[in-house]
């Protein structure tokens, strides 16, 4: 079985995997990082989204061996060492953007990528479109959109205009 090494949440990790082992299986089963979820088998729901070398990807649609040498960030790697939540996590909590929490890790990882890749601004329409790869069955997305909108301002160090609902 191939032995692979990679960096996960800033720490070196290595594991023996089968060629057919998926990245999400490596994370959940070998590295016990169970925050990354699996919600489908057709690469559509986004519950499994993690960041690999700076890009958000579906860890259910990537082989573990393809991630050899890569830098992977999962939901567990977002909060700072003292437990302080990432602004996106904070805004999700603030705006009640999660209910059962199952889609949440993937949603947060996607949202961070979305915000980072839109330094010049992020409209509601762009947010909704940008979440195409993430399905939430609980919230109706309304509060997720609000949370991401608010997080954009925090993450880009800008003041959020006060707007009516």
């Amino acid at each position: 079985m191939p032995q692979i090494s990679l960096t996960v949440n800033g720490k070196p990790a290595s594991a023996e995997v089968e060629s057919r082992t998926l990245l999400v299986e490596l994370l959940r089963e070998k590295l016990h990082l169970t925050g990354t979820h699996v919600g489908c088998d057709t690469s559509q729901c986004g519950a499994c989204v993690v960041e690999v070398d700076g890009k958000s990807v579906k860890s259910c649609t990537m082989l573990a061996v393809q991630a050899a040498g890569a830098h992977v960030t999962t939901i567990e790697g977002l909060a700072s060492a003292d437990g302080k939540l990432h602004p996106m996590q904070e805004m999700f909590r603030e705006h009640h953007a999660l209910q059962c929490g199952y889609c949440t890790p993937g949603m947060v990882m996607s949202a961070i990528d979305l915000v980072n890749s839109h330094p010049d601004g992020l409209s509601e329409e762009q947010i909704r479109h940008g979440l195409e790869g993430n399905i939430c069955r609980c919230t109706g997305y309304h509060n997720i959109v609000k949370a991401i909108h608010a997080a954009w301002f925090v993450m880009h160090g800008k003041e959020m205009p006060i707007a009516a609902e």
Binding site: T34, G35, G39, Q99, C100, Y102, R137, G140, H142, N143
Partner: protein, 793 residues
């Protein structure tokens, strides 16, 4: 003053763990020595199993054991039971055919489990499951209810004639016929309520364990009601006494009804754990969920509304064919009957109603309660026929509703079909919703849209639903085989912190927050001093779980009852300590005070005294401060309200965009407005999904054509609008909180509002009705047919 009490939008306690990846869902757990199960399932909707050969598969790498239906039958394992019995018109009980845990002789739907492979890894179990050699004789299946009751249709169960599970009715037939005889007009409508796949984002999963030295079984499972699973599986399927069977439902990633039911996999896993003497884990793939989780809806109805010249409703009669699927799922028979037909009065004073329901077996996945369970079907039917009546009579849609509303001063209101509504104010929720939606400004928006080539429409629904199904005795008389109370155990610790053990279960609803607010409010202690425990039969007294929007109204009321006992005991202790009479001690804001004096004792002083009973009325009072209450409600609760939807159709493609959605609901007492709003929005998303996107489609023979998210349209962020939510509450009159329930209102009220808006948008295309989902292809079909017709004329 408690800041985090009733009415505060407290941020959720559970969020930190979910946001940081520390949730504890079933599949996140692993047990030492764990094996993995995979089920070999039927690809055929209906076939005889001629032989099953496991020889080659058993020898494959990693295989621990393979079990078939015969193995379970040989040990007397029972069938998967149904928890609700309906009686036919003639008083005889419904047909209740055997539902084997693993198929015996025949398979009856695609996904029916035939064998269970237990192996060291999931992949090995899959390899072996594939290698099992099964010989089938295809028998030809049937998926449509109308086809299933036609003469000569293949039988799902040999002993159920014409595939009819039951033929039931409710209401006063003679009075209804009389009302129709006097009608000015009879409005007729055929409707289909589309079949849905619940698709909670967490697929079902379970881990079973058996301790050979104690004889104890433990099952971790994705359930909304672990005690119900323990009862059904222990008592009826596996014959394991309660004290030897522990069922735990940890964090659960959404349920929407689909995780109420006792599923075959749970029983197979639990049984097999004692055979292989190792823990066994099973997690469904999403494609497996599509063909095994109970589906929702799937009703075909014919409705007739008798109206007077002035638009008053005189009578309603309805005939429904309800698809049960291949087997009776746990609460399936209750859905089209007591959870649907009883709501056909809606918010209107219709004096005579008669409904008939035929439940039909087909070669499809079992159908059971899905968010709203029966009430969305009733509401869709009613709110569509009301719109059609307005159209046929040339009346305004708001006017015809107002004219027929049950007036606010008529409560309690006895409907002609069993239910008695305790409170409501439909004029107010309608008025407020019209205002919030700027209904009066619609015409201008319609014109603006028309200028851009878009067809804009507005639609509404005014609805009532029934939650917290109860009392147990009545439910029992109607066929429930379970009680419908709820339990709470409140354990006050010596320093005054509190652990609440509730029989309700949270799988997204935020109970750890809402319940803590409730307790903080009533006991006057800080929110962070309270912990909510749920979901474990070894910790919590026998409770009924969470479904039917019952957790606050029933579970919360049980908490209030238990807290009443705590407070009474606390007053007795305080009276003793302060040398006052019990009547003179009152409890307020976390303090026991002797009325009219400044003598008082803090809650924590009393709890400490209860556990350190040195100066204590030990003759009259036991030490300790822990109380349990079981609360059996006197009636259902009746949330209701008004939903207004505004859509825009692109006539070139048929695409429907929801532009605005406004809901004003009466949910009774609101504990946490933020959570209430979230529940409504989530429900509406599912309602819009049903109305525009979602459809579980079978071909005639029972092959599921929309068997993955590639073909089953899940609502995504860009399919939905912002959802404006308001509440206008009247209090429930018969529970101590005044709570009604909020979990399902969104999914119940919204679908007809959407379709009414779509029909309105198509006003120039001669559309009287269209069934859900209003897909682009369907809308374009309507527009195109009309255009061709006009051209021909």
């Amino acid at each position: 003053m408690i800041v985090d009490g009733i009415g505060a939008s407290v941020k959720r306690v559970e969020d930190h763990r979910f946001l940081s990846g520390k949730g504890h869902y079933t599949d996140d757990m692993n047990r030492p020595g764990q094996t993995h199960a995979v089920f070999r399932r039927s690809d055929s909707p209906h076939a005889r199993i001629k032989s099953i050969d496991i020889a080659a598969a058993s020898k494959m790498a990693g295989v621990v054991a393979i079990f078939t239906g015969a193995d379970l039958a040989a040990e007397g394992v029972g069938g998967v039971p149904c928890g609700w019995q309906i009686h036919n018109k003639d008083g005889s009980p419904m047909a209740e055919p055997m539902h084997p845990v693993l198929a015996i002789d025949k398979v009856r739907h695609v996904g029916d489990p035939i064998a269970m492979v237990v192996a060291e890894t999931k992949q090995q179990a899959k390899d072996a499951a594939e290698a099992i050699n099964i010989e089938f004789e295809e028998l030809g299946g049937i998926s449509d209810v109308r086809a299933a009751i036609a003469p000569g249709a293949p039988l799902v169960h040999d002993d159920v004639a014409s595939n009819v599970c039951f033929d039931w009715h409710i209401g006063d037939k003679a009075a209804t016929e009389a009302a129709f005889a006097n009608a000015f007009k009879i409005i007729k409508l055929d409707l289909t309520n589309n079949r849905l796949v619940p698709n909670a984002m967490e697929p079902r999963a379970a881990i079973s364990e058996y301790d050979i030295s104690s004889g104890e079984y433990t099952l971790h499972t994705t359930s909304q009601n672990p005690h119900v699973i323990r009862l059904l599986m222990g008592a009826f399927v596996l014959h394991i006494p309660e004290h030897k069977l522990r069922v735990v439902a940890p964090d659960v990633g959404g349920g929407f009804g689909s995780k109420i039911f006792h599923y075959a996999e749970e029983a197979a896993l639990t049984w097999a754990a004692a055979k292989v003497l190792r823990p066994i884990k099973w997690t469904a793939d999403r494609s497996e969920s599509f063909i095994t989780d109970a589906h929702g809806r799937d009703h075909v109805s014919h409705a007739e509304l008798a109206v007077a010249e002035d638009g008053k409703f005189l009578g309603l009669r309805v005939e429904t064919l309800a698809n049960m699927g291949a087997y009776l799922s746990t609460f399936a028979p209750s859905v089209p009957t007591y959870l649907s037909a009883t709501l056909l009065a809606g918010v209107y004073t219709t004096p005579a109603i008669y409904a008939q329901v035929k439940a039909v077996f087909t070669h499809t996945v079992p159908v059971d309660a899905y968010r709203g369970a029966g009430r969305p079907e009733a509401t869709f039917l009613l709110e569509r026929i009301v719109d059609v009546a307005a159209r046929d009579l040339g009346m305004d849609r708001v006017e015809i509703r107002r004219k027929n509303f049950i007036p606010a001063d008529a409560f309690p209101y006895q409907t002609p079909i069993a239910l008695q509504y305790d409170s409501g104010d439909y004029q107010t929720t309608l008025r407020e919703c019209l205002r919030m939606a700027d209904y009066d400004g619609f015409e201008a928006r319609r014109k603006a849209a028309a200028a851009k080539g878009k067809l804009r429409g507005i639609g509404m629904s005014t609805y009532v639903e029934a939650c917290g199904i109860a009392p147990s005795a009545v439910a029992g008389a109607l066929g429930a085989r379970a009680g419908l109370y709820e339990v709470a155990n409140i354990r006050v610790h010596p320093t005054g912190s509190v652990t609440v053990f509730t029989g309700a279960h949270s799988h997204g609803q935020g109970h750890e927050t809402t319940f803590a607010q409730l307790v903080a409010d009533q006991l006057g202690i800080p929110f962070n001093q309270i912990e909510i425990v749920h979901g474990d039969t070894s910790k919590v007294p026998f409770g009924m779980g969470t479904y039917g929007s019952r957790s606050l109204s029933v579970g919360g009321s049980a908490m209030v009852k238990a807290m009443d006992k705590i407070i009474l005991k606390g007053r007795k202790i305080a009276a003793h300590l302060m040398e006052a009479s019990l009547d003179d001690v009152e409890f307020k804001d976390g303090k026991f005070t002797v009325t009219g004096t400044d003598k008082s004792k803090a809650f924590a002083e009393i709890s400490l005294t209860a556990y350190v009973p040195h100066n204590y009325p030990i003759e009259e009072l036991e030490p300790g401060l822990e109380e349990t209450a079981f609360y059996d409600p006197k009636n259902f609760t009746y949330p209701g309200g008004c939903h207004i939807c505004e859509v825009e159709i692109d006539p070139n493609t048929g695409t429907v965009a929801v532009i605005n959605f406004t809901a004003v609901d009466d949910v009774g007492r609101v504990i946490n407005p933020m959570i209430v709003e979230g529940q409504v929005q989530g429900g509406i998303a599912q309602g819009i999904g049903q109305a525009l996107l979602e459809h579980a489609i079978y071909d005639e023979s029972g092959q599921l054509l929309s068997g993955s998210m590639m073909d089953y349209t899940m609502p995504r962020a860009d399919d939905l609008p912002n959802i404006l939510v308001g509440t206008e509450s009247t209090m429930c009159t018969h529970n101590p909180l005044g709570a009604k329930g909020v979990g399902e209102v969104g999914a119940i009220g919204s679908p007809p509002a959407v379709i009414n808006a779509v029909v309105d948008a198509l006003r120039d295309y001669d559309v009287r009705h269209l069934d859900m989902p209003a897909t682009p292809a369907k809308i374009w079909g309507i527009i195109n047919a009309h255009t061709l017709k006009m051209a021909a004329e």
